[in-house]
């Protein structure tokens, strides 16, 4: 383990000098290490390690109490997968030093309040759970814990607050019960019954409009995709029915019962949930992803049922392990595989299910997608005899259920599977999927295979893909990614612009300048006009066609060649694409030339946006244009659109940041001037100082406004086009009496959902406009439902 801290590097001019090690910071590191690694790599039992550590810490309390308090609080917040290890430790310390126990509880409450204030709700849940497990360790008195939970549940009585706020307090209460339900029920059964019945009535009356938007599969078979609170409630009800017997959680404190029950307990101070404010941002609701049950591993240990509390605890802990170690893939894999209970639960199945749960999570996975691919590969390396089979089984299942899988999740499945295969020589039993060959190509299964093969090709080369699939799959194989040059053949010489194309080719090969290109292009007639426009370059589609076709063809060899061409002839591009129609036509020609090579189209569009040859709105309009209708459901189109939106968003953020920085500089300048204020109060000189900075701020302010307006316009264009397209389809279906739910429709409506989900934070800003302008009550209910589901996410 490297002990270098990255903050060392800011010591200017002293690169290799370690931070001057004062005793305290060394001790703190040692204490933190002792605490974090308790029980690891030890020949003795966890219990004796804990006992030893409690002794060491007790001895250190006189000198290092606040450090120990801070470390333990942080551990409670950040290592929830080891919750019971640390509650036991605190229990032992409390038994030895009552005051310390009290101070720890107070520090935890302070930390909990802080977390809630700054919207750190996920970490706050860990704190609540920790506090509740401290009841089991005789640190906190059960009645005071129940009182806290009563305050939590009473949040559901608050008026005019978002449902997601009540949801969180309910979740914090319910999700602690696997740990402490038994103890609380034994001490305060009447109060607990009351809380549970209040819970039940809340869960019955809360709205669940958001659920369809977050489900990975739209079908309820074989496993219902339940809303997270509903699922948890079923699990707690079952736990209660089992008389709160819970056997999965490791509870080291049981071994110390005789010591701990001698300890004096503390009462939690009365806890008032901080009120809802405008700045409060609560976690989004979730849907629980389930793909396995006990029938999937008939040989091994039985998988706990979907409504068992064991299932909840295992999944929580595995998610926490990933959250702790996402940056360190080997550690993460090792920690997942060493999760206790290995021979009592089908651990590999749980791990694979949890990883896919994260990968397919809507709106977005908790971590970057590629992490999951690499993590699964590490797991396969560590368990080569068992994990690959589970993964293959999972892949097969996911394939079987493609018909009802959300389009966004299918995207991620495609990306994951193709990347995974590329690490294993593309070995797969494709024949097992021959059923897709007899289906319509737009159906989910053949579509999936086509997209996978296309992505596999991008990671290798065309012939490789032809080689790895059976001959019968050739109908699904990707096209050879070659460029289509319409002026290429002598036989095309009758095409208008052919001679100019030849001229251009020669000129470019002879390293012509932009001016020379302009003068060659002057000879191109404008099919849109009767008289030639000598003055300027009004929209001339033929000019664009000849220039763009020829240039792209000459630069077809590689991405770098094409980028160089765009850079060299940037001036020509900008001029030809000056108008909106020009931009659209440039995009059309790019598509015509490179329709066999979607990857090339994507990188060219990206470059053209970044060099301002086209703008984001032009790309959006092009995607919804009739010329692209044939490719509308292809994955690469949506990659382009989302990439375009992301570029727009990053641009706005960047300018905003520049504005904030300029404002901060001005404020500092004022402060400096105020602080060394002489009698010499020369207003004119201070104005002169401020002048350029204030001008810059004004310019940036305008830039921000114009960028934000462009961003808003982009979303409006996209939503408008969706509405037009979907309405057309719905009307057509209605009048001809055919079923609305074609594969195209499913894909399209889910793509609309995807826009909302992937960019929800930005779109929240435009809710009023969207509601008043586009998603009005007159809209077809199919389309309006998507908007309503989105609104329900933070309601």
């Amino acid at each position: 383990m490297s002990r270098r801290r990255h903050s060392d590097d800011s010591d200017a001019g002293q690169p290799h000098k370690r931070r001057r090690t004062s005793e305290p910071s060394e001790i703190e590191e040692r204490l933190e290490s002792l605490i974090c690694r308790v029980g690891e790599k030890s020949n003795s039992s966890l219990e004796s390690n804990l006992e030893g550590l409690a002794g060491v810490l007790e001895a250190d309390l006189p000198n290092y109490k606040s450090k120990i308090l801070r470390i333990l609080c942080t551990v409670a917040r950040l290592l929830p997968e080891k919750l019971t290890v640390y509650t036991t430790l605190v229990g032992l310390l409390n038994a030895r030093n009552y005051n310390f126990g009290g101070e720890f509880v107070e520090a935890m409450i302070r930390q909990l309040k802080e977390c809630l204030k700054v919207n750190m709700y996920n970490e706050a849940v860990h704190l609540v759970r920790f506090l509740s497990d401290l009841v089991n360790c005789h640190v906190i008195a059960a009645p005071s814990m129940v009182a806290m939970f009563e305050n939590f549940v009473s949040v559901t009585q608050e008026e005019d607050v978002p449902q997601v706020r009540c949801d969180w307090y309910m979740f914090a209460f319910l999700s602690s019960l696997p740990w402490v339900g038994k103890e609380l029920y034994e001490k305060k059964d009447a109060e607990m019954d009351r809380l549970l019945s209040q819970t039940e009535s809340y869960l019955k009356r809360r709205q669940k409009i958001h659920v369809p938007m977050l489900q990975v599969w739209t079908a309820d078979k074989p496993h219902p995709q339940e809303e997270y609170l509903d699922c948890l409630w079923s699990q707690i009800q079952k736990l209660k029915k089992d008389r709160w017997q819970e056997r999965h959680i490791l509870r080291p404190y049981l071994a110390f019962d005789s010591i701990l029950c001698e300890a004096l307990q503390h009462n939690l101070p009365p806890f008032t949930p901080p009120p809802h404010t405008e700045d409060s941002v609560y976690p989004m609701p979730r849907v629980i992803f389930r793909m396995f049950d006990y029938t999937d591993d008939p040989e091994g240990p039985v998988m706990p049922g979907s409504h068992s509390v064991e299932r909840f605890v295992i999944e929580e802990n595995l998610h926490c392990i990933i959250k702790s170690h996402w940056k360190e893939r080997k550690t993460c894999a090792a920690q997942l595989l060493s999760y206790p209970g290995n021979n009592k639960i089908p651990l590999n199945y749980h791990i694979v299910e949890v990883i896919f749960a994260e990968l397919f999570q809507l709106p977005s996975p908790p971590h970057i997608e590629v992490m999951y691919t690499t993590l699964l590969i590490e797991l396969c390396k560590l368990q080569p005899g068992s994990l690959p089979q589970v993964l293959a089984q999972a892949t097969e299942m996911l394939y079987m259920r493609l018909d009802t899988m959300n389009t966004t999740c299918v995207d991620r499945f495609i990306n994951w599977f193709s990347h995974h295969l590329s690490n294993f020589q593309f070995r797969w039993s494709w024949e097992d999927w021959s059923d897709c060959l007899t289906q319509d190509l737009e159906k989910p299964k053949p579509k999936f295979v086509r997209e996978v093969l296309e992505k596999c090709m991008r990671l290798s080369y065309h012939q490789r893909i032809i080689d790895i699939v059976p001959a019968s799959f050739s109908v699904l194989s990707p096209a050879n990614p070659v460029c289509i040059y319409k002026y290429g053949d002598e036989s095309n010489r009758s095409l208008p612009g052919y001679t100019v194309a030849l001229c251009l080719t020669i000129a470019v090969k002879n390293k012509a300048s932009n001016d020379e290109i302009f003068s060659i292009l002057k000879d191109v007639p404008n099919p849109n006009q009767d008289d030639d426009d000598d003055e300027g370059f009004t929209f001339n589609p033929l000019k664009i066609e000849v220039f763009v076709q020829t240039l792209l063809h000459l630069a077809a060899k590689s991405f770098s060649h094409s980028f160089s061409a765009l850079a060299k002839f940037h001036e020509v591009f900008k001029t030809l694409a000056e108008s909106d129609e020009g931009k659209l036509h440039v995009l059309r020609v790019v598509y015509d030339v490179w329709k066999n090579h979607p990857q090339m189209i994507a990188v060219l569009v990206d470059k053209m946006i970044r060099t301002q040859i086209v703008d984001c709105a032009a790309v959006a309009n092009w995607i919804f244009s009739s010329e692209l209708a044939h490719d509308f459901t292809r994955f690469y189109i949506w990659e382009i659109l989302h990439s375009t939106i992301r570029k727009m968003n990053k641009h706005v953020l960047k300018i905003h940041k520049e504005l904030e920085e300029a404002k901060a500089r001005l404020a500092r300048q004022h402060k400096r001037r105020d602080s060394d204020d002489d009698d010499d109060d020369d207003d004119r000189s201070s104005d002169r100082e401020d002048g350029p900075l204030e001008e810059q701020i004004e310019r940036l302010q305008e830039k921000v406004e114009s960028a934000q307006s462009e961003q808003k316009n982009l979303f409006l264009v996209i939503f408008q086009r969706f509405i037009m397209l979907l309405t057309e389809h719905l009307v057509r279906c209605e009048t001809s009496g055919i079923d609305v739910f074609t594969p195209w429709y499913k894909s399209c409506i889910e793509r609309l959902q995807q826009i909302f989900l992937q960019h929800h934070q930005i779109i929240q800003q435009y809710m009023v406009t969207l509601e008043n302008l586009l998603f009005t009550a007159e809209l077809d209910h199919h389309i309006l439902a998507v908007f309503q589901q989105f609104c329900a996410l933070q309601a």
């Binding site: 383990m1 490297s2 990255h6 590097d9 001019g13 690169p15 933190e32 290490s33 974090c36 690694r37 801070r70 609080c73 942080t74 917040r77 950040l78 290592l79 802080e114 977390c115 700054v118 919207n119 750190m120 709700y121 996920n122 970490e123 941002v281 609560y282 976690p283 989004m284 702790s324 940056k327 360190e328 893939r329 550690t331 908790p366 970057i368 997608e369 590629v370 992490m371 691919t373 690499t374 590969i377 990306n415 990347h419 590329s422 690490n423 020589q425 991008r458 990671l459 290798s460 080369y461 590689s558 991405f559 770098s560 990857q599 090339m600 990188v603 990206d606 990439s643 570029k647 934070q761």
Partner: protein, 166 residues
């Protein structure tokens, strides 16, 4: 930002060493001997860099394949293929520059040590591309490692150059 995990404050500023570990994104032991400047300058540039060196590529791996793979950790600004100084053909390495360092870090964490064209590729921080660095530094024009190696590697011209000359 993810709803539920809000901004920085007193409590959230704290983290634990065990969770801070980011070994895949740390600097390696390698330092470019041709770097013009002090060791300190070099390391400062490496820590700020958004450019990665990628090694152990097949000679046949294309810019397009590299773009596809490395695009999985973020938007790529530029790919520069490594070339044999004499033949001006691909000689098995390249540079990938991202717009954002965070994306390069994710490439170090999740793409380094995985396969491209069936070969385990290796990524490392680079202080920044300069003209001339796209060429191999081996005597025969390719990379140094291909000068002296004894094994047969079909994706890298067969035997090492010294072996070939025997």
């Amino acid at each position: 930002a993810v709803p539920g995990s809000g901004g920085a404050a007193m409590c959230s500023g704290e983290t634990l060493s065990v969770l801070r570990s980011d070994s895949y994104a740390d600097l390696s032991q390698y330092r470019d001997q041709h770097f013009r400047g002090t060791r300190y300058d070099q390391e400062r540039l490496l820590r700020r860099s958004s450019t990665l060196y990628v090694g152990n590529l097949s000679f046949y791996t294309t810019e397009e394949q590299i773009h596809e793979l490395f695009g999985k950790s973020g938007d790529i600004k530029k790919v520069i293929m490594g070339l044999d100084k004499v033949k001006k053909t691909a000689c098995g390495f390249c540079f990938v520059e991202y717009y954002a360092r965070g994306d390069a870090e994710n490439a170090m964490r999740y793409i380094n040590g995985t396969r491209l064209d069936d070969r385990i590729i290796r990524t490392d921080w680079d202080a920044g591309f300069k003209e001339g660095r796209q060429y191999g530094r081996g005597r025969s024009g390719g990379q140094v490692r291909d000068e002296y190696r004894q094994d047969y590697d079909a994706g890298r011209g067969g035997y090492g150059k010294t072996v070939q000359c025997q």
